[in-house]
Assembly symmetry: C2
Homo-oligomer: 498 residues x 2
């Protein structure tokens, strides 16, 4: 049976993924510095073995033969997703991939070297090479996938999402935000005038913050028999669905940045833990993509954990774990003053939920032009500055470090990735609206620290679906409609203007 051969291959690939994933976690969490060279060598060898195994031509024959076998509907879906993966993996020649990997590694290294000094001029030649290769890749993929070049790149991160659908939603959102942000900032200033934000009663010992974070993870549904929380320089959610490894980093001067980070990663972790186990070794059994994943982390972070109802439950929990003095005398408004703080800034990763989409839309608009050849790599700083001034009233023209040099994505060759962040944020808001439609009292549950209802909804509509549907299909099946900007904009209005 060819289907069985694919099933066996899936188990081998799963074992290699397991090894790669866990070696990556160990590298960030446990590995001493001197272990890096051999680790990098091992990881690159394993990646090579994976590609060799996953891209051999006879897999195409197995897929074709399996189509003639009597398969259940589930097996047919599994086969389709396997084929989609196989086509995406094999539509670039080995020679092209080698050239691209080598250029990406050099460009990313150069970027790490030049970023802190904002040396765009010396970075530009490498970046031009990366853009040219990305255009070439987009063209090669577009021909095989019968998509536009930019859509062919988005497809790598977010199967089924197309610029033609994204652009109108992003445009609506952009128009909204340009008007909304000044209003929200004015409202915030009014609130602050009446009720200044209290400073944190620091220090907050790391051990206590860890206990608090773990208690909240557990309350929100994270299964510690299939996962753990560690420390790393850059927080992430890694590992495998049966053993989800989350990390955070702590500062003792306040507790919210680590806690919110933990809750964000917990959203990713719950998605992984909620994937259907019997299909774990098939592409169909894995999480749908970047936007879907981000929708789950943002659902927990923004829809749940920045919800005022959440803090009615959470404030006593904070006091229990950090001590009564931690937020002594604080009321709900005091904590929300920190949890809901917004402001314009240059850096995407530091942005709040209101300004973040403008950082993303700016990149989305620029990378579309870059891939489409309408913009040259050398012109990025000017257009970045112009859009930044238009969207956030800030200039980066003399500051490429905090402008186009701030993110690793482009220097490492990832184009088509950025929209996922804001698609995820909108999906999360739309999912929350659907949950509220189904259970108008859901905020009362949150207020009591009861998350089983929202988890049941997400398990049924998102997690258990894994990769059986494209991202837009997944959203439509879960919420009854295509992705809308309005749930996200209504969410912002309710939270920041009310």
């Amino acid at each position: 049976m060819s289907f069985t051969k694919l099933d066996d291959l899936g188990r081998k690939l799963e074992a290699l993924e397991h090894a790669q994933s866990m070696l990556g976690v160990d590298e960030a969490v446990q590995m001493p510095s001197g272990g890096g060279d051999k680790r990098a060598e091992a990881m690159s060898m394993l990646a090579g073995m994976y590609h060799e195994m996953a891209a051999v031509p006879y897999i195409a024959e197995w897929i074709a033969d399996a189509r003639k076998e009597p398969l259940s509907d589930k097996q047919k879906t599994a086969l389709n997703e396997f084929e989609r993966n196989y086509i995406n993996r094999t539509c670039l020649s080995s020679d092209f991939v080698r050239r691209q990997v080598s250029a990406r590694v050099r460009s990313e290294q150069l970027w790490r070297e030049l970023r802190s000094s904002g040396n765009w001029k010396d970075f530009l030649p490498a970046f031009e090479g990366i853009v040219n290769l990305a255009r070439e890749e987009a063209q090669l993929r577009a021909e095989v996938l019968k998509l536009s070049p930019y859509d062919a790149l988005i497809e790598q991160f977010d199967p089924g999402s197309r610029a033609a659908d994204i652009t109108p939603v992003f445009t609506e959102l952009k128009t909204f935000l340009k008007k909304f942000i000044p209003e929200a900032l004015a409202a915030q200033n009014e609130r602050r005038a009446k009720h200044p934000a209290r400073p944190f009663n620091a220090p907050f010992p790391i051990e206590k913050q860890k206990a608090l974070g773990e208690a909240m993870m557990k309350a929100i549904g994270f299964d510690f028999t299939h996962g753990r929380l560690d420390v790393s320089h850059h927080p992430f959610c890694g590992g495998v669905p049966s053993d989800v490894r989350m990390t955070t980093r702590y500062t003792t001067s306040e507790f919210l940045s680590s806690l919110m980070g933990i809750l964000h990663e917990t959203g990713h972790g719950l998605y992984e833990q909620g994937l259907p186990k019997e299909w774990a070794h098939w592409p169909m059994g894995k999480a749908r993509g970047m936007a879907a994943h981000e929708s789950q982390s943002l659902f927990v972070e923004k829809q749940l954990a920045r919800n005022p109802a959440f803090w009615e439950w959470a404030m006593p929990v904070v006091r229990e774990y950090l001590g009564a003095g931690a937020i002594a005398g604080w009321d709900l408004d005091d904590i929300l003053a920190h949890v809901h703080r917004i402001g314009r800034g240059l850096i995407r990763v530091d942005a709040d939920e209101a300004t973040y989409p403008l950082h993303v839309i700016l990149r989305y608009e620029i990378e579309q032009q870059l891939i489409g050849g309408k913009l040259g790599a050398k012109d990025v700083p000017e257009i970045w500055d112009a859009k930044m001034r238009e969207y956030l009233h800030l200039s980066t023209i003399d500051n490429p470090k905090d402008g186009p040099m701030q993110d690793v994505h482009w220097p490492s060759g990832a184009f088509g990735y950025f929209p996922s962040y804001t698609l995820g944020a909108m999906m999360a808001a739309q999912q929350w609206a659907a949950v509220e439609r189904e259970n108008p009292k859901v905020s009362d549950d949150i207020r009591k620290g009861n998350f089983s209802g929202v988890n049941d909804w997400r398990r049924k509509n998102i997690w258990s679906k894994a990769s059986t549907l494209s991202t837009p299909e997944l959203m439509h099946a879960a919420t009854g409609e295509a992705l809308q900007a309005k749930y996200f904009t209504e969410h912002l209005e309710k939270r920041y203007l009310a």
Copy 2:
């Protein structure tokens, strides 16, 4: 170039070994319980891939072709060791290996289930199967390797060691110990009568013990940029030479068991860290085998860390890390009363350095007869009891749990492994004697906490040699003579009778 093909293959195999080793470490140190099933699946898949890659028939052609290529002496040695490995890996049929693995897994599981109740009767049928398969394996290997069946098994753990060389040394040692142990116990009783052992001033907090252990590891030469110390249920030294992962476990009631365990594992760790890096991906670049490895751990634990000179340096270090009260008022004899405690016991892993060899020789004698067919599996408890009574004046006839059911080796099918422990102990003593011949003042160095001399000697004579020599050749090259019992017996006399 076929040599280059083997070199490339070596790098792939090294990456898989790296993954397997680190996944094993993670399993013992970090993994949550629910991750076990998928981890086991991944490990078994990776082991299968490793075997597939390392045992394909065309490797034999590559080896033969490489012999015709112009090779340096080092490359020739590398090729020889590659071939030795390949032959040992491929001299059993896949069908036989499958049968054996399945029997071993079942037998080991059954042993885990029945050991605590000492249910030998229900374990016997599985054990008979294991013994039969071990005999079959020994026969199959013996034909290919042109060795006696038992030697063919020893060869898997200790390349080059032969029963014909081991037996006379073990016999001399056994004769010595049967006379020595009563004398040493009498001497110990006399010392104790004059100077009773002081109790530990417990508790010793784990964090402080960890700091002490790490300080001693560092002093002894362990490189923390290429390794670390963690906690696991069973202490081990794992990882890879560029990233050595050691573990210990702590009890707060005393500090010596963990510290001595750490120092033992540090000996393994130094060997791994000292292997030549450029050959890390060839069998020639790996540690020589079980006896050589044990010689390095026992060198650190018994020759260095139980040396009275060591404690002149170490007592202030203990006070520095555990606090002045930890061994308040203790003098050298007080600590040595604990460090040099000996006694007869039933359990090998709990035995001291004087009685340990008798546990090993007992097993060596029995397993030779088992493999040779001169003894049936069912007769093991009787002969075990008879030898135990003769060697250590203890009976196990009504207590198979603490007799032949105490070790995992036989239930898991490892025959020919046990002699390594005592070969290692004798090798360590002989190496120490060679170091002392070269530098008669070496104990003065130890007294000052200066271990660079002993490490230089071992780096030059043991670590850097990796697997370029067989175990007996390695010993001969390092110490100028074949393995002798006398250095070990003199060491015991000096330490316990003086």
